[in-house]
């Protein structure tokens, strides 16, 4: 597949369970494509060089920076954004725990952190506080001081473990 700088390529991907298509120049970042062309404005764009983590989405189930990926690279991939988490009007257990623990204030970084947590908890269902903090080192939050976020993640992990045992 070759796309010249002036061309726009028809990127087809699965976004939050639905097949979507849009046109993207080779240089279009995935985060901008998701926001501007597909309307997934839950993707927040912060630093645009991979430091802040606000734009983190799942690509084929794996947490990645959408500012460090091109839209054309997401062709025929499965993308999940924060919009995929809540079931209609009911927040996911992770989102509810964030709310209970004051794990957000302005909320700008939250969408990315939630998506990291989805992947992280899948791989580490019973993490230690140190492991949670290590995962969170990939995100910048300037409101909370991280304490509430750590609590929320640990609480959800414990909750899920209990539910499984029942």
């Amino acid at each position: 597949m070759r796309v010249t700088a002036e061309q726009r390529f028809a990127v087809r991907l699965e976004l939050n369970g639905r097949t979507r298509e849009g046109l993207a120049e080779p240089r279009t970042q995935l985060c901008d494509f998701l926001r501007h062309d597909l309307g997934a404005t839950g993707v927040h764009v912060g630093c645009e060089h991979g430091v802040c983590g606000a734009c983190t989405v799942l690509v084929d189930g794996v947490a990645m920076r959408s500012c460090l990926m091109l839209a054309v690279q997401a062709h025929e991939r499965r993308i999940e954004t924060v919009e995929s988490l809540a079931d209609d009007d009911t927040l996911s257990d992770l989102q509810q725990a964030f709310r209970r623990n004051h794990a957000l204030q302005c909320g700008f970084c939250t969408a990315g952190i939630l998506m990291s947590c989805v992947d992280f908890l899948e791989r580490q269902p019973d993490p230690s506080e140190a492991e949670v903090r290590d995962m969170l080192s990939g995100h910048l939050c300037r409101c909370t001081g991280y304490t509430g976020i750590v609590q929320a993640v640990l609480e959800v992990a414990a909750q899920r473990q209990t539910n499984e045992e029942v």
Partner: protein, 268 residues
């Protein structure tokens, strides 16, 4: 910022990558994980004419255990190598150093060879490769050549790689009996660029100490053990031409090499 315009090719084979590199040379850039290159493109520090994407080149996505090394192909992600269950037995230093690379989220996409090709002086993989005495395999349409890590890294983001060459593989020497491997790093916060990073292969009489983040490239020095170590570390610290920057002074960097180096080697 947004990248300047470029042509994009999603390569399907190694051959195709090499042919494009032969045709475009310096005007082309390889993108694998893109965890360094995309930032560089976004800030327009690089404005290539052509971006060659090697993410779909399956023949480059291999990790192979050979007689004397662990060979890692150009499309292998850092997370993939780190998750290898036998890594700590095969190349213990990598198992220690790799958790320090960026973050969980960037290791998920960043590649092993990409980090080596990018050649950031504070990066963990180049440092590990130099400390272990590893090799880099470069290939162009004219053929392959294998180069020692110590000769490959030539300065800040500068390597011996020619414009028509691809880093197709890196080779990490396997664990040696009787050697203790250690890794330590100081950064503003975990995952940030290292102010100083140290990798050590510790034998009974001698130590190979790799230092990252101080000189313009990762540097390996042989040091004695015992009473002669502090003086040797001091000499090493001064030999690296440490620079002041916003994160730390040159004096602090030298002090870290001396103090952290001593603790790392003597295990205190």
């Amino acid at each position: 910022m947004k990248p300047a315009a470029f042509d994009y090719v999603r390569a399907e084979s190694r051959r195709q990558v090499l042919e494009l590199l032969a045709e475009y040379g310096q005007e082309a850039r390889i993108i694998a994980g893109g965890q360094s290159l995309m930032a560089v493109l976004n800030m327009r520090l690089a404005q290539p004419k052509l971006l060659i994407d090697i993410n779909q080149v399956d023949e480059l996505a291999y990790i192979e255990l050979r007689k004397d090394c662990l060979a890692v192909g150009a499309a292998v992600r850092q997370a993939q190598l780190l998750a290898r269950p036998t890594l700590a037995d095969e190349v213990p230093l990598l198992a220690l150093a790799m958790p320090w690379i960026g973050h969980f989220q960037t290791r998920n996409r960043g590649t092993v060879c990409g980090s080596v090709a990018h050649a950031d002086p504070s990066a963990e993989l180049p440092l590990s490769l130099v400390t272990l005495g590893g090799e880099i395999v470069l290939e162009s349409i004219k053929g392959k050549r294998v180069i020692k890590a110590a000769e490959f890294f030539q300065g800040i983001l500068t390597t011996d790689k020619r414009a028509d060459e691809l880093v197709v593989e890196v080779r990490f020497p396997l664990k040696r009996e009787g050697i203790i491997y250690r890794f330590q790093e100081i950064a503003m916060r975990h995952g940030d660029f290292a102010i100083v990073s140290l990798a050590a292969c510790i034998g009974l009489d001698e130590v190979r100490l790799g230092v990252g983040g101080v000189a313009d490239r990762p540097v390996m020095c042989s040091l004695p053990r015992g009473a002669a170590l502090p003086d040797a570390l001091n000499e090493t610290a001064w030999s690296l031409d440490a620079q002041d920057d916003v994160h730390a002074s040159a004096a602090y960097r030298r002090q870290l090499v001396r103090e952290l180096g001593h603790r790392l080697i003597e295990g205190v």
